[in-house]
């Protein structure tokens, strides 16, 4: 009986949401920061069918007669935030059996009902790179998610043009992956293990090429090496945890040797080697932490890293590393970078379009432009003010977070039950019970 009611409710909701997607929505009168275009002081954002249809000054955007018109005067609208490094979804990748496990997929470990996902929505995050941890030289395949209101990881996943699930590969150096054998105990050993693995991947790549012309020579499938071949072919980006300046340079050295595409993550000492990073044309996803230290390699962590790297010409993004920092306060990371001297526009780019570029998603997300996914955040004020709240988060034209809804508010600020796994989200809308 109960199941029957739920399934009917679910059907109704799906119908309602399908209708909602088709009806255009116009947010009129907001201050709009499109990120890749000039700020519009009084603008209209028009979305339809999950895409942005128009964005411009109120006088310049005609609101269709059938559109739902939303008065957004006094609000600020920014693109849905993109977090390039997060551990929401109670994700875990490789296990303790070895230091290099490229066959392990974050896809298979994510709990879509983890409250961290809803908390990220509450922070305005709409796209996120969910990664395994940094306790391995190579801890597995990452996954790029859209934070839709859905309950399977497949429905959360972003798909590539060929239908495959989008994601990168997580690697790490420095102290986190240093352990007893079979792990590496030193930096030299770590680099040697990684290089040997990439050589094996090259061999496999060559055999695959031979097999393409002569089926008799086609090698057996090798899940681990296949993922690395994708890396060698530039289809999968390496997301590399690295803190200390010498470790950063080691990543660049390996990246040059094997020619893979790479994003440097955390880069606590990135400011010390900004020129080398810029010369290598490798983007940086920077962590912002309230004080230096906490571990040896973060002793020189600096709030100025974003500003210094940006001025050196490096593409800079920020990330939550959730649970290291809280997704609900993601904009704060960019605000603290502004405090430490980063250009304001660049800081907003660093939580939107710059991260989208690092995930190869810049054509779809990261700015408010016609044709892009209708992912956006309605703020109560300046994105970089402590007094500003995320009021609503929209993904592909659907509202996934609304501060005015009690359950969403609970997730946004915390309180009793805020960290419990999500039940059917339908429970809490329209007064259907709830917790």
């Amino acid at each position: 009986m109960e199941l029957h009611v739920w399934s009917r409710l679910a059907t109704l909701a799906l119908l309602a949401s399908a209708v909602a997607q088709d009806v255009p929505h116009a947010f009129v009168g907001a201050r709009i920061e499109p990120v890749d275009a000039a700020v519009i002081e009084r603008g209209t954002l028009l979305v339809r069918g999950g895409r942005i249809e128009a964005v411009g000054p109120v006088a310049g955007v005609k609101v269709p007669d059938d559109a739902v018109r939303i008065d957004a005067a006094g609000r600020t609208i920014v693109p849905g935030l993109v977090c390039s490094h997060s551990h929401i979804g109670s994700v875990a990748g490789a296990d303790g059996s070895g230091p290099i496990q490229p066959e392990v997929r974050a896809l298979d470990g994510i709990n879509p009902r983890d409250p961290g996902i809803q908390k990220a929505q509450a922070g305005g995050i709409t796209t996120v790179n969910v990664m395994p941890g940094s306790g391995h030289l190579l801890s597995g395949q990452t996954i790029y998610l859209k934070l839709r209101d859905v309950f399977t990881v497949e429905d959360l996943a972003i798909k590539n043009a060929d239908g495959s699930i989008a994601g990168g590969l997580k690697m790490a150096n420095g102290t986190n992956p240093q352990k007893d054998p079979p792990f590496a105990g030193t930096r030299g050993k770590a680099a040697a293990l990684v290089r040997a693995q990439f050589h094996r991947a090259r061999d496999h790549q060559r055999k695959l090429a031979e097999g393409a012309t002569d089926p008799a020579k086609m090698p057996d499938r090798n899940l681990a090496l296949e993922a690395l071949v994708e890396v060698l072919e530039g289809k999968r980006v390496v997301h590399h945890h690295t803190h200390r300046q010498d470790d950063i340079l080691t990543v660049l050295r390996l990246q040059q040797e094997f020619g893979f595409r790479c994003v440097l993550h955390h880069v606590s000492e990135g400011g010390l080697v900004a020129e080398q990073i810029a010369a290598a044309n490798v983007p940086c996803s920077v962590i912002v932490i309230d004080s230096p230290g906490g571990k040896l390699e973060a002793a020189r962590l600096s709030l100025t890293t974003g500003a210094v790297l940006d001025r050196a010409g490096v593409l800079v993004g920020f990330h939550t590393d959730d649970g290291i920092t809280d997704s609900r306060l993601f904009l704060r990371s960019a605000a603290l970078a502004v405090r430490a001297g980063m250009d304001r526009d660049k800081a907003l780019q660093a939580v939107t379009i710059a991260n989208a570029r690092m995930l190869d998603l810049q054509e779809r997300v990261g700015s408010l432009a016609p044709g892009k996914d209708a992912d956006f955040v309605v703020l109560s004020g300046d994105p970089f003010s402590v007094y500003t709240r995320v009021l609503q988060t929209w993904v592909e034209g659907k509202k996934v977070f609304d501060f005015a809804e009690p359950r969403d508010r609970l997730l946004a600020v915390g309180g009793y039950g805020a960290s419990d796994d999500q039940a059917m989200s339908l429970c809490c809308y329209g007064g259907q019970g709830g917790q």
């Binding site: 004080s291 230096p292 230290g293 970089f384 402590v386 039950g417």
Partner: protein, 412 residues
Amino acid sequence: MRTRYACLLLAGVVVSGASAQDGAAPAPAAPAAFVVHAGLVVTMAGEPIADGVVFVRDGKIEKVGKAADLPVPPDLPVVRAAVVTPGLIDAHATVGLSGLLNIPHDQDQLERSAAIQPELRAIDAFHARDELVGWLRGLGITTVHTGHAPGALVSGQTMVVKTHGRSADADVVRPVAMVACTLGDGGRGRDGKSPGTRAKSVAMLREHLQKAKEYAAKRAKDPTTSIDLGLEVTAKVLAREIPMLVTAHRSHDLLAALRVAQEFGFRLVLDGAAEAYLVLPELVAAKVPVLPHPAMARTGGELKNGTMELARLLHDAQVPFGLQSGFEGYVPKTRVVLWEAGVAVGHGLPAAAALHALTIGAARLLEVDARLGTLEPGKDADLALFDGDPFEYTTHCLGAVIDGVQYLGTPR
């Protein structure tokens, strides 16, 4: 208050004085007398003064008032800021004991060899020159209540100390402030050692308190009774000379702390208190001050029901509260109480209440209000200087003055 700050921001903030590197104790190169001239002087003793001046002489505040009423003699150096507040006080930290590097040799906040060790003094463990002390000073925090961390049933003592970064002995304000206790999961023993359950924790604590009671009676009757360092300190708690600081998060643990405090009649300060909002009537009735967990504390484990609104909820219920950076096992190795307060303000705590908690409120809670917490003549010249609303993300702290010594480095 926010609008008031916004209106009074001074353009082109000029700072003069010595600059200081983190970590190394800075040379006190400041003049013996100088004036801080600010667009807004938040004295915390009456209304904020627009276009005000604070006269500092020989480490103390000499006078405070409107610039128009107190002309500055031409020979006195002037430091300018948009906003000046009393030096900020972190009502509970472990900085100086839990060092920057987070490696065994700089972590002195928790000794695990026994469950109950009130004899451990903070003053013997505080490393004044740890870089994180300087980090806090650079963000306007001039005094910290720091010491032994949560994590053992009775982990040791706490102290109140300035953030000069010289030495524990030179910078101490109160060498023994409280005795730190932890109930709930956080206070369990490791590796099968007691206490292993909540009930056992409380039983062991009560036995210890009972023992201290008997010890005190024996010592009073016979002064030749051998000194027991631990019981000596717990006896001070029982004599209400110092409070017991009990870290607890779950609502039933908070009530257990109230129960024991009532039984033994000691002064209780609750720390963390993630679920305090569930037991507000009990807290109000018991008149117990609460140090809510940092607003940005991670909401896992016993803090899973934590809320960024906790300080606001306590304020609304008129529970006396302080604001703290707390203890972090990983990163950020020290939180910044100013920034935690900012997030609390962003979540509804009135800015005036937050400033109160960071200054005179904390000073009273820590019983140092005769010297600290307001900008009034005769008090220690401890000031925090800002170029705007202290709670705003993008405002800079221009530095601090402690005992009249200027620490005005790079704006942060």
